[in-house]
């Protein structure tokens, strides 16, 4: 494994405070989800999951059709659709629009897609101010960090960390009461909302038959971002599409419950463009940015295509025994946990993250909680095979191949197998070469006094 990955993991494992925050934070979310999807509260839970999977599968298999339908419907309501191949095309579009409208201040509501393309950094590099308005995102933006978790970006921080950064960046001394910290953020950000020229959001769902963007949140910052400024830009991956508004009956019931255990989040906004004639408020202009950034590459692989079904609820992170120990920042990209382990190598190229598909115990808990039934362990195994069969790999792993050949021969020859069984009693002495690294992390089980074969013989 690359050292940077190892180092981050070691740091996280060695930080007691962080371990506690991770354990408690994810544990609470696991309990909330479990409560919300329990048989007595949501008897149709499994039916909803299967239906969500079928809907996502259908949409992804006919993505071209639904994208065209979506585009036509956005345009019918006076909005514009901007197709972007990569990060640079998104920031070029926003910068150009900002220039034409003489905009300087941009408010943003939490969006993993804009994190994915480092939009804030790109805009700030060109002199624009881009302010995150979700409380957790705002805090980590002040700290210059990436989100720690798909739905709980500041999961790794305590009130004392927040007090420190508020003191450093806002000049507010030693405020450690969470309610007061929240109200400080409210008043600072309220000023920004009322002064902002452009609001940028992501999208939880794109509705093909309505040309609409659906935003799901608890704080109200997405509503403010899409209501206060005169321009609303929604940036979404092309896979976020679902066919009909009526399909929200399935997806909204799953998303809130899987993410935070809420039957519905506090606010669900269904937005189909700028304000219309007769409406009092809302933005004057609406742009929907449809982002590829590696998604079509992933789409081309029928075995792993299901990775695009993800609705970013974060349930697989919370339940994952690996994520719960190594945390979000150990992962090489903004998508962490099991879903990050399968989409990161596919978006960035497996050669950049060859260790990632192996950072899993394949316990399958992620697949069990996934609301759209992505078979994450299966995709991980496929990716592992890809790493091992990748160019130049066949020769370099001669030792491993030799080992498996020897194992195969042994399993086909009972006498040799029995003999080997006796020799295996010497295993504790083997602490050389690659075994040394392996043994440094694991204990061998103690050998019983007699082998199974001996016991069997004695029984007669």
């Amino acid at each position: 494994m690359p050292t940077a990955f190892n180092e981050k993991i070691s740091q996280t494992l060695g930080n007691q405070k962080l371990q506690l925050a991770l354990y408690a934070g994810t544990g609470r979310l696991v309990e909330h989800r479990k409560h919300a999807v329990a048989e007595e509260r949501l008897p149709e839970y499994q039916e909803l999951r299967s239906h969500a999977n079928a809907l996502k599968k259908h949409t992804i298999e006919h993505l071209d059709h639904y994208l065209e339908q979506l585009e036509a419907n956005v345009q019918a309501h006076g909005g514009q659709v901007i197709w972007c191949r990569d990060a640079a095309e998104v920031s070029d579009f926003v910068l150009d629009l900002a220039k034409r409208r003489q905009a300087r201040l941009i408010v943003k509501s939490k969006s993993m897609t804009t994190e994915e393309i480092d939009l804030n950094e790109r805009l700030e590099h060109h002199g624009l101010e881009a302010v995150e308005t979700d409380l957790g995102e705002y805090i980590i933006q002040l700290r210059g960090e990436r989100p720690y978790h798909i739905v709980a970006p500041a999961l790794h921080l305590t009130r004392y960390d927040v007090a420190d950064i508020f003191q450093e960046k806002l000049g507010i001394p030693n405020e450690t009461v969470i309610e007061k910290q929240t109200m400080i953020a409210r008043s600072v950000l309220r000023e920004k909302f009322l002064a902002a020229d452009i609001g940028i959001t992501g999208a939880n769902f794109l509705i093909a038959d309505s040309g609409a963007v659906v935003l799901v949140e608890n704080e109200g910052n997405a509503r403010l971002t899409t209501t206060a400024p005169k321009i609303h830009i929604a940036v979404a991956g092309i896979e976020k599409i679902i066919p009909r508004a009526q399909d929200l009956g399935v997806f909204l019931k799953l998303l809130g419950r899987s993410a935070t255990g809420q039957p519905l989040t506090v606010y669900t906004s269904f937005l189909s463009g700028a304000r219309r004639e007769g409406e009092i408020d809302g933005p004057d202009e609406f742009y929907l940015v449809l982002l590829d950034n590696g998604r079509t590459k992933l789409l081309a692989d029928p075995d792993k295509r299901e990775s695009l079904y993800c609705i970013r609820c974060g349930a697989c992170l919370n339940i994952c025994p690996v994520y719960r120990k190594i945390g979000g920042h150990s992962f090489p990209w903004i998508y962490s946990g099991p879903i990050g382990a399968i989409i990161t190598p596919q978006f960035l190229g497996i050669q950049h993250t060859p260790a990632l598909p192996f950072a899993s115990s394949l316990c399958g808990a992620c697949a069990e909680v996934c609301p759209v039934k992505i078979d994450i362990p299966k995709v991980l195994l496929d990716l592992r095979a890809g790493v091992k069969e990748g160019p130049g790999k066949a020769k370099s792993d001669w030792l491993e191949r030799l080992g498996f050949h020897a194992f195969a021969w042994l399993m086909c020859h009972p006498k040799a197998y029995a003999l080997m069984g006796r020799f295996s009693r010497l295993a504790p002495l083997l602490n050389i070469g690659p075994l040394r690294a392996w043994r440094s992390q694991r204990d061998l089980p103690a050998m019983p006094a007699k082998s199974f074969r001996q016991l069997w013989k004695e029984r007669g």
Binding site: L194, D209, N218, A245, G249, F270, A274, R275
Partner: protein, 208 residues
């Protein structure tokens, strides 16, 4: 099958593509639910989420409740005819009738309460459904720290599935449909629940 579909299918087949299959069926189920049960469920669910609730027996009762809830604060009320009919827009310190966006924004930014009706309410989640129009502006339920919603009992639906059955395409009616389920909240610092982070931290659901 139309000629258009035939030709498009032939094109797709020629390119090795599958013809467009029908989408999986819509999955919506509406549970039978009596009017009284809907009211009770709406108020109970909203109450669990820490909204203040009131079942008003008359318009006058609702008006009195609103006056009490305002508790000396100023308010901006939406242009919903229902609020006028209830006499709520006539209460002291209530501004209403604003149709200009910039004016509304300034008023909302300074008001203590926002008073609206709701186009629908969802009984099984305690949700208010707000469709943006000349009668209901988006900012009134968003900018002031308190939101008071007056809902006629007849507009209470069983839940999300009934809403999506009545409004299969909300975009045909409005550019903005918002579902509001309880007061604004966050758990972003140590998962400690704090209300009123950006939207109203105080929500009143009044059913007449």
């Amino acid at each position: 099958m139309s000629a258009r579909q035939d030709i498009l299918n032939a094109v797709r087949a020629g390119l090795g593509r599958k013809p467009l299959e029908p989408a999986p069926p819509v999955l919506l189920a509406i549970r039978a639910c009596e009017a009284q049960e809907r009211i009770a469920s709406l108020l109970r669910c909203a109450g669990v989420l820490a909204a203040n609730t009131h079942h008003a027996c008359s318009a006058a009762d609702a008006r009195e409740y609103v006056a009490r809830a305002m508790n000396g604060r100023t308010a901006v009320a939406s242009n919903a005819p229902f609020l006028r009919e209830c006499g709520i827009t006539g209460l002291a310190n209530v501004r209403t009738g604003i149709t200009d966006r910039e004016e509304l924004r300034a008023v909302c930014a300074g008001a203590g309460c926002g008073i609206t009706s709701a186009d629908y309410a969802l009984a099984d989640t305690g949700t208010l459904v707000m469709l943006s129009s000349l009668e209901e502006a988006r900012m009134i339920s968003l900018l002031p720290p308190a939101h008071i919603a007056i809902v006629p009992a007849g507009r209470i639906l069983t839940g999300l599935d009934e809403l999506l059955t009545i409004l299969p395409k909300p975009a045909d009616r409005t550019s903005s449909m918002v579902l509001i389920t309880g007061p604004s909240r966050t758990g972003d610092i140590e998962q400690n629940l704090v209300r009123g982070v950006h939207g109203p931290g105080e929500v009143h659901v009044v059913v007449i």
